[in-house]
Symmetry: C2
Subunit: 229 residues, 2 copies
Amino acid sequence: MVSAARVSRASRDSKVVRKQPITVTRILAAAFHLVETEGFEALTMRRVAAALETGPASLYAHVRNKAELDDLMIGELCARIDLPEPDPAAWRGQILDVCRQLRDQYLRFPGISRAALASAPNDLETLRLSEGMLSLLLAGGVRPGDAAWAIDAAYLYVSAYSLEASLRGGVGSGDARSGDGGVTAARFAELPADLFPNTIRYARELTSGEGHERFDFTLDLLFRGLATA
Amino acid sequence: MVSAARVSRASRDSKVVRKQPITVTRILAAAFHLVETEGFEALTMRRVAAALETGPASLYAHVRNKAELDDLMIGELCARIDLPEPDPAAWRGQILDVCRQLRDQYLRFPGISRAALASAPNDLETLRLSEGMLSLLLAGGVRPGDAAWAIDAAYLYVSAYSLEASLRGGVGSGDARSGDGGVTAARFAELPADLFPNTIRYARELTSGEGHERFDFTLDLLFRGLATA
DNA sequence: TCTACCTACGAACAGTGTTCGTGTCAAGCT
DNA sequence: AGCTTGACACGAACACTGTTCGTAGGTAGA
């Protein structure tokens, strides 16, 4: 037996080097890599464990649940959001920017917004984001009650939008870019004309929206309606 | 062997009566009952099959997937929505009413909105709802493009709201009604005061909202911002 | 009457989250 | 130095999940 002890400072001495210890950080890194490349459905305790070259049981010493792993990922994502210093004159642009950041983080890891919707993870990072958004609106002169409810609605919408966008784009179907909208519009045209007159007539409007136009449209609608005292 | 044939017209002759045949309707009924009483997580092919006193394989003759079962349920829910005749003067109230109906259908079957978010089920019933909502907004004088995007946003929000409300209320925790808000507000008060000044200060606003006040608030915000030509 | 077909279903497969018990190491105490 | 303690790692297993295969059974048509 090659007693492979005391290799704590040498990273890779030989092939019998001691395995790097499992930490929450490494688990999270493996999880993010997995979701980024294969989508949220592939995020499995076994897959994460395999990426760390161990068995699934080893993860439960650092993470209570898969649910907790999900929450940790959402927290990490929220931590990456850049919160601007509140500028009372530009609060609408600022809050929109924050929402866009959140959306892009979600979209970078397809399907992860499921985890955001599946729980109300009141950890510190999520609250930091919430606090930051609240500050922007308050600085803009929005009434506290309205501000609180508006950011809640915005957070919900961003999560739902990202989830739907992830499913639509998928993680494997890379060719479903612009042609898909035309396909859907064509299917609308084949509906019974007496039951779906408006759907047929406005098929273009229903399926339109390049990039994130719909996203901006909705959030603008949401924040523009807030009274600034 | 008691040949139990030709019992097709007699419903319940004796104990050896022929088992009622499996139909999509019966599958859906069992599925709805299951979700209503035990929540969406309990909706399992095996549980549905067991409720029908058969094995899981028997379902796959009538339903392609569990995903298709989910879609069928969403379709059924949408079919129950009552679409009013468009009244140009009252379109805001009308669309809000439709959204409330949808919300109540979702909330009656806790967690089922997961299925609504997990796919864009373009079946006829979903499209009927979409067409109805579109008609209301168009009658109100909303521009077609705005109307199409607004109902999309509203549908997304209703689903996300219902999902979160289902998780918050749970299906087993019947006592988590009004006391929970106080608990969350109290947890906000224990946060580090230098990092979360607004969260602490407006803890009441952040956790307030009896019944569906937040729901109405958000949708009002959404629809009030639409220009009526 | 015979045949063909659709329905029902038992059994099994590949996965999932999670727990139990055992090992194995590192540090701390005597 | 020797011993003990405790945390970490992990193989195996349990109770589930969705889904498919092969086969039986009864019904409808020729």
